[in-house]
């Protein structure tokens, strides 16, 4: 590779983070530290029922016995769990009767993020739940959804208004002891989104949650639970941003999906938490447990575009429990600057004739380290199960790394697994060809990288696909010329 091109590639890491502003909000913050009292405080602040407090305390007890996982290819400076505040909420959190009552500062903040909370201004087919720090501040289009029988609200409201639904499904896919971060989340989760789609209902619009970490020295621990009853269908989008700060901030979320017979859940994420600066100062530590359970003929599809966070530890998974259930994972993960991503999926095939497909595109630039880690497991019962995995890595520069660590475990002879992977660099001939047609080197690079991710972007709803492409280009913007 020519010296000049190399220089430009290495310059690609130096992109600006456009969501780095923070907003002055009056916030109620608990003092740092995590004890049983912290857990009780959170439950009390939220007026939670006893069963939920008990559940939290059990999780807290389990968490205390557990160690941080160390198997990922991540270099993490030690996290002091006692230095984090586990509760932060904008104090003006009102009982909202209408969206017009949303705190104007919060509204402005979301406007700045490009997510207007006024229904009249919004894309007509997306309902939004906006979460700042730990608390859901507003949910749009509630009435329209209610007409279709769809429940879409903050987790806190769900606990208050639909306790039985929550109690039945909470922890049913990700048990409290599942892993260190899931246990932590279960103990201290503050809010999140809840969605319930009744039998036979096709959710009339895209649902989306926008997460925003605003306060300093706080962790964010939200919890999302989506239940799709038999023959229902829902598409869910999730977006994340955070202010630019010099400290690392912890985000440990849990997402549980339950797709009952013949139901379909499509879950898309565009994660753009603050990644830290060029020297690796600051940035979000993103430790997320996402898992879905698919019953007979159900389908769960995860699509993720991960461009942010200093550390990403995330494996959206599907338990293919029902016969003929389908699991999909489409991922673009970008590590530039000094970002580290260890991400992938687990497809656990239990039912017969289950199928899963995995398409992973990893991009490493700057001093970024990108690892795909995936498990495909075919149990003895997984008669005629199928998996296809395609796992490609792109290296932009010589100081970054791309790693592929798949685990394939097959215990049924009728199951078929195919795994393909490649690692390569952007072809100089592709750049030259594009430039001969008049494209600048930077545009050509962005176009080629976007092309590399095409299969994944195709899975995103239209508005998100555009956003994802833009994010990728911004993240790769460099000092060319």
């Amino acid at each position: 590779m020519s010296g000049m091109l190399r220089e430009e590639l290495e310059g690609l890491a130096e992109a600006g983070y456009e969501f780095g502003f923070s907003t002055e909000l009056d916030t109620d913050i608990a003092p740092p530290g995590l004890t049983e009292d912290t857990v009780r405080l959170i439950a009390a602040k939220k007026n939670e029922p006893d069963w939920l407090l008990e559940w939290r305390l059990a999780a807290f007890e389990a968490w205390q016995q557990m160690d941080e996982p160390d198997w990922a290819k991540l270099d993490i400076s030690p996290i002091d769990y006692q230095a984090i505040s586990y509760w932060a909420a904008p104090t003006k959190k009102p009982q909202l009767d209408s969206l017009d009552e949303v705190d104007p500062d919060i509204r402005d903040m979301f406007d700045k993020l490009g997510i207007p909370l006024h229904e009249q201004k919004m894309l007509s087919n997306v309902a939004v739940d906006a979460i700042v720090d730990s608390v859901s501040v507003t949910t749009t289009f509630k009435e329209t959804l209610a007409e279709a029988g769809v429940i879409f609200c903050s987790f806190s409201e769900a606990v208050r208004d639909y306790p039985d639904l929550v109690r039945e499904h909470l922890g049913s896919v990700v048990p409290v002891r599942d892993n260190f971060f899931a246990a932590l989340n279960s103990a201290v989760f503050s809010d999140g989104s809840f969605c319930y789609v009744p039998k036979g209902v096709r959710c009339p619009m895209e649902l989306s949650t926008y997460f925003r970490i605003n306060s300093e020295n706080t962790g964010q621990f939200e919890r999302t639970l989506i239940v799709a009853e038999d023959d229902s269908h829902v598409s869910y989008l999730e977006g994340c941003t955070a202010p630019q700060r010099d400290e690392n901030q912890l985000h440990a979320a849990v997402v549980e999906l339950v797709a009952k017979d013949r139901a379909e859940i499509k879950y898309s994420t565009v994660q753009n938490w603050y990644p830290g600066d060029e020297n690796g100062v600051g940035g979000i530590y993103n430790f997320v447990t996402k898992r879905g359970r698919a019953l007979e003929d159900a389908k769960i599809s995860w699509t993720q575009v991960e461009t942010g966070s200093a550390i990403t530890w995330k494996y959206p998974s599907v338990i293919l429990q029902g016969d003929r259930s389908v699991g999909e994972f489409y991922s673009v993960a970008l590590s530039s600057k000094v970002q580290q991503a260890d991400t992938g999926t687990k497809m656990v095939h239990i039912g017969s004739d289950t199928t899963s497909s995995i398409v992973s595109k990893g991009i490493s630039a700057g001093r970024g380290q990108n690892t795909y880690r995936g498990l495909v497991k075919m149990l003895r019962s997984a008669e005629n199960a199928r998996n296809y995995t395609q796992c490609d890595s792109l290296l932009l520069g010589s100081d970054c790394g791309a790693h592929t660590v798949p685990y394939i475990e097959v215990k049924n002879p009728t199951a078929q697994v195919e795994h393909e992977a490649s690692t390569s660099t952007v072809g100089e001939d592709q750049l030259y060809y594009s430039r001969q047609r008049g494209l600048s080197e930077e545009d050509a690079m962005a176009m080629i990288v976007n092309g590399f991710c095409r299969e994944v972007f195709n899975e995103l709803p239209m508005e998100f696909a555009v956003e994802a492409q833009r994010l990728l280009s911004v993240s790769l913007e460099g000092s060319v010329g």
């Binding site: 020519s2 000049m4 091109l5 072809g427 100089e428 001939d429 592709q430 030259y432 060809y433 594009s434 430039r435 001969q436 047609r437 008049g438 494209l439 600048s440 080197e441 545009d443 176009m447 080629i448 976007n450 092309g451 590399f452 991710c453 095409r454 299969e455």
Partner: protein, 256 residues
């Protein structure tokens, strides 16, 4: 329109072009013929600005110094290179690629960008010219194209870009008789008083469809003979041996 003066190029210390002088007037079509290894493709890539060559001499397009420009600036100046081996870019939609390229060039020239609707009209016309099906534009750039489709795609891009100077590098190689006819008639249709072309080829057969105004013979990185189209016929009959031997490099000329 194009003035090439004493153009020299080497790669890793190996001299490939040895003082090329060439003058192409507006609306003229020049053929550059030569045996394998004579420097034909290098000449095309040096004009287009591929990295990796040490270049001396001068190349002026409409008076502007091409050698000072980046590849994309040369494209904006009106240079188009039809690649011998068009590059595959997986995942990048052909139409999107072409529209972005066209708009980059227009921006560089201070022109307005073309709207999606206008572009589609232009693209349709160009597709008819190279007899391509509509789904062609929806596929990824050259990915999985047959040899003939790739070459047709080059001509399609040329028709959309409307260059001042088109350099076609072995556009006829690897084409069957039908594809050759399509490509040649496409090129022929794009001839005009404001557009010049340099057609680089090993064989004479393309020149049966595109009659050049001038034919140059390139041997060992130098133009050793120039003449009218009958020179191509002479080469077809006698090969490059005449020119090679007079240059003392007869053994190296093969494949004729």
């Amino acid at each position: 329109m194009l003035e090439v003066t004493n153009l020299n190029a080497s790669i890793d210390g190996n001299r490939i072009l040895n003082g090329i002088d060439l003058s192409v007037g507006s609306g003229e079509v020049h053929a550059v013929m030569g045996p394998n290894g004579s420097g034909k493709s290098t000449f095309a890539h040096v004009l287009a600005g591929r990295e990796g060559y040490e270049v001396t001499g001068s190349v002026a397009l409409d008076g502007a110094d091409l050698l000072e420009m980046e590849p994309e600036e040369r494209a904006a100046a009106g240079l188009f290179l039809g690649f011998q081996y068009p590059v595959e870019i997986p995942g990048v939609n052909n139409m999107y690629f072409l529209r972005t390229a066209l708009n980059s060039v227009r921006r560089a020239r201070g022109e307005d960008e073309i709207s999606a609707r206008e572009f589609l009209a232009v693209a349709r016309e160009a597709m008819a010219l190279v007899e391509m099906k509509p789904d062609f534009l929806e596929r990824s750039v050259n990915a999985g194209f047959s040899g003939g489709e790739k070459k047709r795609n080059e001509i399609l891009q040329m028709a959309v870009m409307q260059p001042r100077l088109a350099v076609l590098d072995e556009t006829d190689s690897g084409l069957d008789i039908d594809a050759l006819r399509v490509v040649a008639s496409g090129v022929e249709a794009l001839r005009g008083p404001d557009r010049s072309m340099i057609v680089i080829t090993h064989y004479q057969r393309l020149l049966e469809h595109i009659r050049p105004d001038v034919v140059h013979v390139l041997v060992d990185g130098r133009i050793v003979e120039s003449g009218d189209h009958t020179l191509a016929l002479h080469l077809e009959e006698h090969g490059y041996r005449d020119f090679g031997e007079q240059d003392g490099a007869g053994q190296r000329l093969s494949g004729v």
